[in-house]
Structures are given as C-alpha cells and as structure tokens.
Amino acid sequence: MKEKLLLVDDEADFLDVLSEFLRDEGYEVAIAHDAKEALTILGARPVDLLLSDINMPGMKGFELIKEACRLYPSLKCALITAYDVRDYLYMAKHYNIGNIITKTTPFNFDEVKLLVKNILTEDVFGLDHYMSGAVEETRVRSTNEIENVIKQIVGGMPDLRHKRKFRQVLNEIIVNAVYYGAKSERGDRKDSWPQEVNLSSEEEIVIQWGTDAEKTGVAVRDQKGVLTKEEVLYWLERNATRGEDGVSVGLLDEHGKGLFISRETIDRFIVNIKRGHTTEIVMLNYKEGLYDGYRPLWIQEF
C-alpha cells in the first residue's frame, strides 16, 4: 500500500514539482496551498506524513503541525523552508519539532527522499542508509582507542574540507558517546569524568564511515539512547539565540556547545534516537559547493 503524503506550501509551482517527484518515488501525494486547506484534507482522508512550509499566509507551519497532531496523534510531521533553520530553532524547541527540510540550491532531492523515507519507516540507524557507497565499521571499547579511530577515519577521507575542525567534532561526539551515552556521566561535570574508561560489549560504541560520489559520512552510535530530542533542541537553541549583549546565551554553559558547534561545522548533522536503546549521530559532509545554503534540522526520535 502506498504511503500517503500531504504537501503544504503557498508556492504552487514548488508544490507541483515536489509532488511530481514524490509521486515518482511511489508515494500518494495530496497538496494544499495553506493550512486551512490542509486541515480540510486531513479531515477528509488518511495521511501518513504532513510536510508543510513554515512561512505561509494565515496559519504558519508550526501551528498547523501542532493542530494537526492534536487532531491526529499518529500523524508524522516535518517542516520545509527556504529560510535559515537557526532562526526557527526557538520555535522548533517550543513545538518539539525535529525535522525541518531546507530548500537548497541545487535542490537536494536525495535528501528529501531519504528524510521522508526515514520518518515513515522509522528505519534510520546505520550509515548505509545515508551513503550510496561501501561503509566501514569499527567499535570503540576504550577511551584509549578514540585517537586511533579518528586518525583512521580522517585518513581515509583525503578530499575532506576543514580536516582539523572535523577531527575536533569527531572527538567531541565520540567522547560524549563514551562518557555521556554509554556511561551516563553528567555533561556538566566533565572535570570529574575519569581519565580512562573501558566499555563492556553492551556499552561499546559503533563507528561507521564511508565515502560516496557526493559526500563523506561518519556515524557514531551508542547502545543506551540516553540523549533526547528535547535536550538536543534545548542546546541547539541556547547556542543559536543571542542575548542582549550580542553573545549567544549558551556561551558560558559548561556543556552543550559541542552539539551546536558540530551542527554548524558539519553539512548534515543527523541525530537518530531510539529512547532507551540507541543514540546515533550521523555526520555528512558534501563535496565543495554542493547543496550550499541552509542546513536542515534532522532529529528522529522514536
């Protein structure tokens, strides 16, 4: 059975081309030009995924999703925008929305396709979902191994831009996966974290990496699922919001900056969470010049 999508956008031309594409991908697609029309359609027939523009005349995307989810609790939702997602982090946190697709130029069909599929199937874990090439895998069982793993990964990505930054981000993500993810150490007590940690087979961190024609990718996965979408949104918003002094309100926070910096540094920073089971952070870097523009917000939590 075909999954049913509802696209909402005040740009008729955009609706037309995106719906054509998604139909080609095998979905049943309905379109609405504003929130009111969308709510009417939702009332008339079943919809699996609501994909709405944020900035529309009348009711905006966030309110539409809130109202739609109130009426149809099992409905899945995502937003789409041509604007800067950082400007919407506050709203995303407020409405607890994890997915905002960006209209990039060139338009990134593959990304839209993947995100729609991810949301609908809830089959998101594993770097192979995001790469069209071969994926390598290793496991981190001790803090002593982190440095070598990073060396191995970055060494295999000769074309990677901003290598030094990427190494830092990778280190931040893996270290957090070990201490916060696997060992549940408190993020605000980093100075009390033990120097060395060994992980049991139920705790070990899975790391995958690979390269395809368009991008490089790394996934870091723990087996606990401690991190929550709410937390991720909280820290992202805190660091994106600037206080009256013009400095981000999260500047002096003891932790939480790593997430934000990582998202700013990496082209696609994807957080997949299965509560109590798995947290996976997928980092994709496109080859230079590809899909420039704003970065989507991409957090799945099940």
Binding site: F14, K103, T105, S248, F260
Partner: protein, 505 residues
C-alpha cells in the same frame, strides 16, 4: 613731570632709543646697576638686562630697590635684539603696554622678580606717564595686585591645564593669549607668537575664520554654532566668545578649540554601519525571496534532465544551462547571506599571528602570490576573542585586495602590536598601486569595486568592515601609490577573558 624716563641698564640699542624718544619717552642708558645710583632724575620704569644682574653684588641690588622704590623693574634675559623688536613693534602700533607684557611670555624673564614686574609693564609705562604725579601709590597697588593675579594664574597654569585650545585675539588683531594646547592644534611651531598678528601665525583657513569673527564682535554679537575647520586632516571645532571690558565694549575674541577628529570618524562609522545594517536587512530579504524560485528552477531542471526523452539533446543542453545559472545565483546568494547574517560559531581565544598565518594558507597557493614576498612582524602574546573564521575573513579580504593591488608582485608585510587601551593593532601593508583618492570614502561601501566586472563582488571590504565592527574593533587605512596600509584594531582577548571571568563570578 611730562616725560617718562625709562632707565635702560646694559641695553644699548640706538634705534630703540630713537624710537622711544619719538614716542615721548626719555631713555636713560647706564651700563650697570651701580651706575643707577648716579642718576638723579626720577624714572618711571627700570629695564635691566639679566647679565647686569648677574654681575651685580647683593648690596648693589639693595641700593637699586632703594632708589627705585615704587617703580616697576623689568629684567630681560636673552638677546636684547628680541626685546628691542618687541618694543619697537609696540611703539609702531601704539600698543606698548600689551607687547611689553607679552614679552614676558616669550622668554624674557624667568625669575620671580621679573615676573612680578614685567607683567606689570603691561600698562605701566603709559599709565605711569599719565599718573605718576598724583596717584603713584594707588597705581603701584593696582599694579601689584594685577601682578599677583598674573603670578597666581601662572602658578596655577590654568590656560596650560585645559585640554582645549585657548586663544585670545584682541580687537587689533594681535594674539593676546595662546595656550600650549592651541599651539599644538593649530600647528604653531614658532615660539614668540604672543603679540604677533594672528594672520602671520595661524593657518590661512583659521585666519579667514578669525577675521570674520573679529568683524562680528564689533557689530551685534550673536552666538552661533560651533565651526568645524579641518587642519591637516584634523577636524577642529571652534567656539568663539566676545570679550568685553567693564563698559561692554568689545576688546577681544576668545576662542576655545577642540580636536573632534575621532568623533568625526565615529560619526562617519556610525553612519556607515547604519547604511550597512539597512542594506543587510534588504539583502537578506532579497536572498530569501530568491531562494524559493531558485529551488524550484533547480528542482525543475533536475527533473527535466532525468525525464526528457523527446529530443534529449536539446533538453539536456537547455536544462543544463538552467541548472548552471541556478548554481551561479546560489553562489551569489550564499555570499550575500554570509555578509548579512551573523554566523553563530565557536567563540574562543586566538593568537593574532596564528590567525594571520592561517589566512595566508588560504591564499598563498594562488598564482597571484608567486611573486609576492610576505614579511611578518608579530608581537608575541597578542590574543583576540571571537570566532576564528570571522577573523580570518577580515584579513582574507584585505590580503586578497593587497595582492590584487600589487598585480602579483611586491611585498606584503603583516605586523601586529599591542595598541593603547588593551587593543590589538594589525597592520597589513602592501607596495601596490594604492587607493585612488577619489575612491577613498567608498572603499568600505558594499558593491564598490575597482575590479573588472565578474572579478569582484565589491563585498570583500564591506564584509571585513562589518566583521571588525561586530567584534568591537575599528578598521581604517592610509594609502599612497606603493605604500598602502590597512589597520585593524581589535579588542584584546585578554580583556575579554577577564570580563568573562568577572561576569561568571
């Protein structure tokens, strides 16, 4: 007594004597102090050259004070020709009193005794002449009092203490008073300008202004707005006041002068930042508006490239072109957005030298740098606080422009030093063609470019300007052909850290 006798001790200037006589004074010349005792006529003023005092014995001085009791004594130091010149000028212009007083300032006397009496010379000669007979005593009291005031003023050094230029020009066009600060502001290097005609002392521009103001004070005086005059790139602000005597007759023009160059720059920078902010908002709006249609064009062309089965070559050619154009637009968009949008990123401390070095690594591989020699002169220990990539952006734009100006051949010198008030100053110097004076005011304007169409967006320095400003710094430049320097002043990171720690408790 109708003629005022002036006793000149060790001052023998025939021409001066002749002029004194011509003006109704009677000069009496003696060669040394003991000889004064031989003079048996009354005299109104005693002028002694310092050398004569140096040679005199203490008892000679006592005798001098005794015989000249109640008479002002002036002591001159330095070249008698100077004194003569001053006196002569005064005689010619009928302002002996004033000039006599002025000579005190121009280095005639330094000891206590001189000051006491030379200041009194202001009006002594003329008034002693008129009134010596009847109220000598009263006059003397007045003179003493005035001198005490003068003395007091000198000791307090009021005029010298204020950090504004203070100038008084009398109605006759002579400089009556000028403090050290005013001399500096007006670039006056000559020493003895008190008593001189302002025209011979002030820069032309200022002279014209003073001339106008002097005319005004003799008419109906109205305060008007402060006047700004630029002297050697310094912007001076003049406030003028009319000085009256007790009968409310104008006697001179008082001017307070302030250097407002810095403020002028601040105003200009504020204006420019305002302009940039408005433009930024506009650009960001345009960028957002463009994003939608662009994504549609892009989506359409991608679909068409995949789908077109009929006349595929035609479709491919055309749609590839569409896609290419879209990408080009996207490039412009992204640079515009980069310019308008604060990019929240990692704030940290960075060594300034490291930032410059990193910037160089971004550009050095380019062909244009092949024949450019890079010199570095970094002061150790300089740090700034902020987003490294933003700092790199500042220097990148300046360095690229420098390379361009040198046409790929020359010396690029990067230097850093600690500036006043916890600032870090970076200088980027090149030996290129320099900035056309006509373009000077527009260098930081967005979209201003001297490069060929397509070679520059005209945003490079505007971006640098914006970033520097966002960082709480300042950017400026000096330029001559073969000698251009861009200066970037940034708040020292050390201070930032300190403040941060304080704020965090």
């Amino acid at each position: 007594m109708n003629i005022a006798n002036i006793l000149l001790v060790n001052i023998d200037l025939p021409l001066l004597n002749a002029q004194l006589i011509e003006h109704g004074y009677n000069p009496l010349m003696v060669s040394d102090i003991p000889s004064i005792l031989d003079i048996d006529v009354p005299f109104a003023v005693v002028l002694i050259h310092q050398d004569a005092i140096g040679e005199a014995l203490a008892e000679d001085m006592e005798r001098l004070y005794f015989v000249s009791s109640g008479v002002p004594i002036g002591v001159f130091i330095g070249d008698p020709a100077n004194i003569a010149a001053g006196l002569r000028r005064a005689l010619d212009e009928g302002t002996l009193e004033r000039v006599y007083g002025h000579e005190v300032e121009s280095g005639l006397a330094t000891s206590r005794i001189d000051r006491m009496y030379l200041g009194a010379g202001l009006e002594t000669i003329a008034r002693a002449h008129r009134q010596a007979e009847d109220d000598k005593e009263l006059l003397h009291k007045e003179i003493s009092f005035r001198n005490r005031v003068l003395e007091h003023e000198r000791e307090l050094n009021i005029a010298g203490s204020i950090t504004s230029g203070l100038v008084v020009v009398d109605t006759g066009g002579k400089i009556f008073l000028i403090n050290e600060y005013a001399r500096r502001l007006l670039r006056i290097v000559k020493n003895d300008v008190v008593g001189a005609a302002y025209r011979q002392v002030f820069p032309d521009k200022i002279s014209r202004f003073v001339e106008n103001e002097l005319k005004r004070i003799s008419g109906e005086w109205k305060r008007h707005e402060m006047k700004k005059i630029t002297v050697d790139e310094a912007v001076l602000e003049f406030a003028t006041y009319r000085m009256n005597d007790y009968a409310h007759n104008p006697i001179g023009l008082l001017m307070l002068i302030n250097d407002i160059t810095g403020q002028e720059n601040t105003t200009a920078q504020l204006y420019r930042s305002e302009k940039l902010a408005t433009l930024g908002t506009m650009l960001s709006g345009i960028a957002h508006e463009l994003r939608n249609p662009l994504s549609i064009i892009s989506a359409r062309s991608q679909m068409a490239l995949k789908k077109a089965e009929w006349d595929k070559d035609w479709a491919t050619k055309n749609f590839e072109s569409i896609d290419g154009q879209v990408n080009r637009c996207a490039g412009i968009l992204n640079s515009l957005l980069e310019y308008t949008r604060y990019k929240a990123t990692q704030q940290a401390l960075h060594k300034v030298g490291e930032i410059l070095d990193e910037t160089l690594t971004h550009v050095e591989y380019q062909n244009i740098f092949d024949a450019i020699t890079v010199e570095k002169d970094y002061q150790a220990g300089l740090v700034v606080f902020g987003d490294r990539s933003r700092f790199v952006q500042i220097f990148l734009n300046i360095i690229l422009n420098a390379a361009d100006a040198m046409g790929g051949k020359g010396v690029l010198r990067l230097s850093t030093r600690a500036d006043k008030q916890s600032q870090v100053l970076v200088e980027i110097h090149d030996t290129g063609c320099g900035i056309d004076p006509a373009a000077k005011d527009r260098v930081f304007d967005p979209f201003f470019t001297t490069k060929e169409p397509g070679k520059g967006t005209g945003l490079g320095l505007a971006v640098a300007y914006k970033v520097v400003q966002d960082s709480g710094g300042e950017i400026w430049f000096t330029s001559k052909p073969g000698n251009t320097s861009f200066f970037v002043q940034l708040p020292s990171g050390k201070r930032k850290v300190y403040e941060g720690k304080t704020a965090a408790g």
